[in-house]
């Protein structure tokens, strides 16, 4: 596991990723366990229907029907808990990528080997991508397998599509954190700015039906790329995937020169 910056970074995150994976499986198990009682309570859907519109927009995706497994998971997991978990992991991994080694003063040791700075950035990025996709995969597998046990049957291909979009959401903000970390070396800032922007992006996407100004920019929100086209019902929205991939590519392309041109903190 100590053969490259990429594998070393994954090794460092081993325990953390395991803990995240277990937590996600547990969260999904909790939702699956509650499902039978929700299914038999039609009042849950009425409750959501009766929410003020703004509130419903924030916490439930439009036209969510709590009486079906798909609607239930969309409201309970995909609109809030799922993205929060993936974003926390990805933003932390991105922010710690470069700044973290500088905080621990190990960057001098790493860079005194014949490893280019661009290579370090790309390897750290790949580690963050793999970690994020791993977590999304664990969540998807849990949904399908644990869902089957609780009679909460979800179509695996649609779950996979939703998880692809979820992972890309994480990687977009993780790449932003990484670009900031590479260009500034400041871990706190690299964590804080993406977190704030993620909240804004969430609000813009959620309240777009209600606020004209948000409606106009909704499609720029990474949350729109994530869930705006309803992947759990309709499958992969390739245009959104492309937008996310391009965003990520631009951020990584900025991260490399950002790290190359500055002093490394000793």
């Amino acid at each position: 596991m100590l053969t490259s910056v990429l594998t070393k970074t994954l090794r460092d995150q081993g325990r953390l990723l395991l803990a995240w994976a277990l937590s996600l499986a547990l969260i999904v198990a909790t939702y699956a366990a509650i499902w039978p009682s929700v299914k038999s309570q039609p009042s849950m859907s009425d409750f959501i229907d009766q929410m003020p519109e703004a509130f419903r927009s924030l916490f439930a995706t439009s036209s969510a029907d709590m009486s079906t497994p798909t609607g239930y998971i969309q409201v309970e997991l995909l609109s809030f808990m799922g993205p929060i978990a993936v974003l926390i992991y990805a933003i932390n991994a991105g922010a710690g990528a470069i700044g973290g080694e500088e905080d621990r003063h190990t960057m001098d040791l790493l860079l005194s080997n014949p490893v280019g700075r661009g290579r370090v950035v790309v390897d750290k990025f790949l580690a963050m991508v793999l970690g994020t996709f791993l977590l999304a995969a664990v969540m998807g597998l849990s949904l399908v397998l644990e869902g089957n046990l609780a009679d909460m049957v979800l179509p695996p291909d649609k779950v996979a599509a939703a998880m692809l979009h979820l992972a890309l959401l994480g990687v977009v903000f993780g790449s932003l954190a990484l670009a900031l970390s590479a260009a500034t070396g400041r871990t706190g800032l690299s964590r804080g700015i993406p977190a704030v922007l993620a909240v804004l992006a969430y609000i813009i996407n959620a309240l777009a039906p209600l606020v004209d100004a948000f409606d106009r920019i909704q499609e720029a929100s990474p949350f729109f790329q994530y869930i705006g086209q309803d992947p759990l019902r309709k499958g992969v929205a390739w245009d959104s995937v492309l937008v996310s991939a391009l965003t990520i590519a631009v951020l990584v392309a900025l991260a490399v020169p950002g790290f190359r041109r500055r002093d490394v903190a000793g």
Binding site: L2, T3, S4, V5, K8, D12, R104, H105, T106, M107, D108, L109, L110, L111, S112, N113, P114, V115, G116, R117, R261, R262, D263, V264, G266
Partner: protein, 330 residues
């Protein structure tokens, strides 16, 4: 600056070349126009008080910092633009060796070996053995001295052409320092060079060929250690049967700290002044005489002052290369 920095030629005369190297952090000038050259097989002792610019120089040479102006190069490779090529040639011990807490010594060796695309595990084990370092322990459990040893192992294991050592023996006990010195001598015997920083002369005097003194970001002196030794001061004390006056001995060039009190004389004198001084002394009736060589450290302090304050002006003795760095940038 210099046209050859792009090429990186093996036949380049100098292992390290700093040319007008300047680094500013905001308004603070950490390094101000430092120029020096280190040849093959040479150990260069880089001396100065803490905060004088030693670590800044070293981190510029390692490509961790970008020079504000001037260049640093290793075998013709530019330290900033061609840092990968430089790192292939250099072993580096950082000032505060930071290690990966959760990795053992062996895991550090494995990681760095992979990054260098070499297998240096056997050599690393050999060096660790000589330094009496246990490579199986995680870095977080190592004492400061042992962390330093591990940093040394990682720096020398790839048999680099140049060792860049930022206070490598601080925290290491004297016995292990000797082992370290012999490792360094083996390195130079094979044509390798070293830049060895310290804030005390004692640490480098046994291994350095030349020393450079940096103070407040400027290189204030570069000297061959043997030249410094030749100017090493002798403490001279004499008691006369007759009363003497300071004026009788004042004319000897190089004599410092002259104190004459009735029948006794005491002063510090470089080797070059001893003959003239002795002739003056022996012209009078001597009751007691004492002459002992002062430690090099004392000589050094007397000339350059290491406490951040300028010492007395170094004598403009022939053959020395005491020079101030040119090109002050403000």
């Amino acid at each position: 600056m210099s046209p050859e920095t792009r090429r990186g030629r093996e036949d380049n005369e100098s292992m390290v070349q700093l040319a007008g190297l300047t680094k500013r952090f905001g308004r603070n000038t950490a390094l101000d126009g430092v120029s020096l050259t280190i040849g093959p097989g040479e150990v260069f002792g880089y001396l100065g008080p803490n905060g004088a610019g030693k670590t800044t120089t070293i981190r510029l040479l390692m490509g961790m910092l970008r020079p504000t102006s001037g260049t640093a190069s290793v075998l013709g490779f530019d330290a900033w633009r061609q840092s990968r090529e430089v790192h292939r040639l250099v072993g580096y011990v950082p000032g505060e060796p930071a290690l990966y807490d959760r990795l053992t010594g062996n895991q550090h060796v494995a990681y760095c070996s992979h990054l260098r695309h070499r297998d240096d595990r056997r050599r690393a084990a050999g060096v660790a053995d000589r330094l009496e370092l246990d490579l199986d322990r995680p870095a977080r459990t190592l004492s400061r001295g042992n962390r330093q040893k591990l940093a040394v192992v990682l720096a020398v294991m790839s048999q680099p052409r140049l060792l860049v050592l930022d206070e490598p023996t601080s925290g290491i006990d004297p016995l292990v320092q000797q082992t370290f010195h012999s490792i360094l001598r083996e390195h130079t015997a094979g044509g390798g060079s070293a830049l060895f920083s310290s804030h005390v002369l004692g640490e480098v005097e046994r291994v350095a060929d030349r020393i450079g003194v940096v103070r407040a970001g400027q290189l204030v002196a570069v000297e061959r250690l043997q030249d410094l030794a030749a100017r090493s001061l002798h403490r001279v004390r004499a008691r006369f049967a007759v009363e003497v006056s300071a004026a009788e001995f004042g004319g000897v060039p190089g004599v410092r700290d002259l104190l004459v009190d009735g029948h006794t004389l005491s002063c510090n004198a470089p080797q070059s002044a001893l003959d003239a001084l002795l002739k003056l002394v022996s012209a009078r009736e001597v009751e007691d005489f004492e002459c002992s060589e002062a430690p090099l450290e004392e000589t050094f302090l007397s000339y350059y002052g290491m406490d951040g304050q300028p010492g007395q002006t170094p004598p403009a003795a022939a053959g020395t290369v005491a020079r101030t760095a040119a090109g002050h940038a403000h």
